[in-house]
């Protein structure tokens, strides 16, 4: 990066194809209209005049997953809704990203003990950015979007660190949970999510 910044100081602008490609993608992320609960109100506020997500390129919230490349899961994901969330994610074309907005989408939130609450959408989907809060302020959503943009800017086109959609061996879609007699089956996608590690203070 250093020689480019040197050159930029002298007024010469150079870039690589990778940077150009990532710049185009990160500045035109189109979210899928996916508000589930109260975090959706903050997402709507972020898209309105005062906080204006449009200046980041994310102004058109698409109703169809076929036209979107960012899914902002905003709100509590109930177990009844979980298969539909995963199916909609699968129906989005690559490259696609997921932002888990709010405590409920991250881990179940304040309703974690509920009989119908999925304890975090990262059990079934690969989440790129987590935005904590209950609900997070629109500025927090914009900060999360900017973090995602930084992440996209750093994605290489080739090599071992390349994203899933460029990797022919990576999964093309994620399995939808099905409705079991007492809970969803499977409980989580074991390739994506493992229970958190043991803490010693439990047995102190």
């Amino acid at each position: 990066m250093e020689p480019e910044i040197e050159l930029q100081r002298h007024g010469v602008f150079t870039t690589t194809v990778e940077q150009l490609y990532n710049w185009g993608r990160k500045n035109s992320l189109w979210p899928l209209q996916f508000g589930l609960a109260c975090c959706a109100i903050e997402m709507i506020a972020a898209s309105m005049a005062r906080f204006d997500i449009a200046r980041f390129g994310a102004e058109v919230f698409r109703p169809s997953p076929r036209q979107a490349d960012l899914m902002i899961v905003a709100g509590t994901v109930t177990k009844k809704m979980a298969p539909q969330v995963v199916r909609l994610y699968n129906q989005m074309p690559e490259p696609k990203y997921v932002i888990a907005m709010g405590a409920c989408a991250i881990s179940g939130g304040p309703f974690k003990e509920g009989y119908n609450v999925l304890k975090g959408i990262d059990r079934y989907l690969p989440v790129d950015v987590f935005i904590p809060g209950c609900p997070p302020r629109p500025e927090a959503l914009l900060h999360g979007l900017m973090l995602l943009q930084k992440k996209i800017a750093a994605q290489p086109l080739t090599g071992p660190g390349r994203p899933r959609y460029l990797d022919q061996n990576g999964p093309s879609e994620f399995p939808c949970p099905s409705y079991g007699a007492h809970d969803l089956e499977p409980l989580c996608n074991h390739a994506l999510w493992q229970p958190p590690s043991v803490r010693e203070e439990l047995h102190s």
């Binding site: 169809s64 997953p65 076929r66 809704m81 298969p83 539909q84 969330v85 199916r87 909609l88 699968n90 129906q91 074309p93 690559e94 086109l157 959609y165 460029l166 990797d167 022919q168 990576g170 093309s172 879609e173 939808c176």
Partner: protein
């Protein structure tokens, strides 16, 4: 001089075709390298707001939806025909006025027929599907 102008024409024609084809070729090359095909069963399924869809999305639409398109087309064409008549209205002969009036009367008769048939009315029950 003839050969000069023809060669210019050939050159510009080539440039035009190249201008159209070059982005397509670049996109095709990029897609070959950096857009691997990764289909999936759920990915290619019909979109139904997240529900598991059964069958394709090709349903039998209510046939009188097309009437709106046809009505618009007919009256749009009539408007186009009326424009030169309106522009030359002062200097028209009697025969021309008579012909134009007959033309308009025929179209008004079509409008009356549509009105009586109810194609212009408000729809109280409007649902897609097979009948209803």
């Amino acid at each position: 001089m003839h050969s000069d102008s023809w060669s210019f024409l050939a050159l510009f024609a080539l440039a035009a075709v190249g201008f159209a084809l070059a982005p397509l070729i670049i996109a095709w090359v990029w897609a070959r390298a950096y857009s691997p095909r990764k289909p999936g069963a759920i990915k290619n399924a019909t979109y139904e707001c997240g529900l598991a869809s059964e069958g394709t999305g090709w349903i039998q639409f209510q046939s009188d939806i097309y009437l709106y398109g046809i009505v618009f087309l007919v009256f749009d064409v009539e408007t186009i025909f009326l424009m030169p008549v309106a522009a030359a209205f002062q200097g028209l002969s009697f025969g021309a006025c008579a012909a134009m009036s007959v033309f308009m009367l025929l179209l008004v008769e079509g409008l009356v027929w549509l009105w009586l048939k109810g194609a212009l009315g408000s729809r109280t029950k409007y649902c897609y599907g097979t009948g209803n």
